[in-house]
Amino acid sequence: MYQGIAFRTAWLVAGNTADAEEAAQDGFVKAYRALWRFRAGAPFKPWLLRIVTNEARNRRRAAGRRDALTLRASGEVVSGDAAPSPETALLDATRRDELLAAVNRLEEHHRLAIACRYFLELSEEETAAALGCRRGTVKSRLARALERLRADLGETA
């Protein structure tokens, strides 16, 4: 059920798929062994994500990697809407590339907050668990990141 989101969140934090896969495996095994500590009534997903991303952070730290993950556009055509004209499609793609480049220019802790919240669609609580910080910190990082993106792209709030 949570395999996909756990792996992808670990990928954001660890920076590569091999470490993310190992971190997710380690996280699930640790979660299983710590299941008795899981509090009744507490949401399961943030608890699991916290364990998995701790593993991902540890792997990245152990490997001494400082370079952050660069997000890329998939190039896939998203179905659902009527096919846009070539001009519109080109304009949309250009605007997306500009935005993604601006996201990649953010400091890493801001970029991770944006990626968790908007690209993985985690809640603030889940984002806080994934990034190992408080929910208030997530709020302030998101606000600051959005502010910087607006400034970078010349948008107003």
Binding site: R8, Q25, Y32, W36, A40, E76, R96, E155
Partner: protein, 225 residues
């Protein structure tokens, strides 16, 4: 505006393809718990995780939330299924303590307080002790998974026992069932239980069921050293 653009962008960001982690996790958990039935259930509980509710009797209402301790799963439900108490209890065939010790792959714990049990039962790797005339049951296992459903009138408390967390279930009857290898709740045996204490010792999960106070139950549990 920027938020809307980010939401739109999310459909175009390259994310890694999902991986099937289950075989690897199964192997890892299996290195600690060699019993195949236990492995399957462990994987069901962890990898497939909580949002996938185990199949339940139709009379039971929606699961509100759950918690796990050792091989136990306690689910909080709005209403318990309509079941009758069964006698005799289905806790496996009657055996001797000596035979039970020979048959299970762990050191069977006994009570220094209660003395020899009146009956010893064996069900898979679960050893059950009956003290008095169905007044007190103590069951221990390493790979037998079970679940308890508790309704709104029943309270579940986290208590400390030998420095580890235990669960004290009291205040109303609750429903008990074993969980099968295919992750399904076994439709029988079903029975309703009074108070219960669930705790772990090493890699064993123990449960005590009977009409005891919390203090009495904890005292009995501590005597299984």
């Amino acid at each position: 505006m920027i938020e809307r653009r980010l939401h739109e962008l999310s459909a175009h960001v390259e994310l890694p393809a999902e991986r099937d982690l289950a075989p690897a996790v199964r192997g890892r958990i299996g290195s600690r718990r060699p019993r195949p039935g236990g492995l399957a259930i462990a994987l069901a509980l962890v990898v497939l995780a909580v949002a996938v509710a185990l199949a339940v009797p139709p009379a039971r209402s929606e699961i509100r939330h759950w918690l796990g301790l050792g091989t136990a799963r306690v689910e909080f439900v709005d209403r318990l299924p309509d079941v009758q108490t069964r006698r005799p209890l289905e806790i496996g065939r009657k055996t001797s303590l000596r035979e039970a010790r020979e048959r299970v792959p762990y050191d069977v714990l006994t009570s220094s307080l209660l003395g020899a049990p009146r009956e010893v039962h064996l069900l898979g790797d679960q050893v059950g002790f009956v003290y008095g005339k169905h007044k007190l049951l103590v069951l221990q296992s390493r790979g037998t998974y079970f679940q308890k459903d508790v309704g709104p009138e029943t309270s579940v408390e986290h208590v400390q026992l030998n420095g580890r967390e235990a669960l004290w279930i009291s205040g109303g009857r609750h429903y008990f069932a074993y969980v099968e290898r295919n992750h399904q709740v076994r439709p029988a045996p079903l029975y309703l239980v009074g108070s219960a204490l669930i705790w772990t010792r090493g890699d064993l999960t123990l449960r005590l069921e009977g009409e005891l106070s919390r203090a009495e139950a904890l005292r009995v549990a501590r005597s299984f050293g």
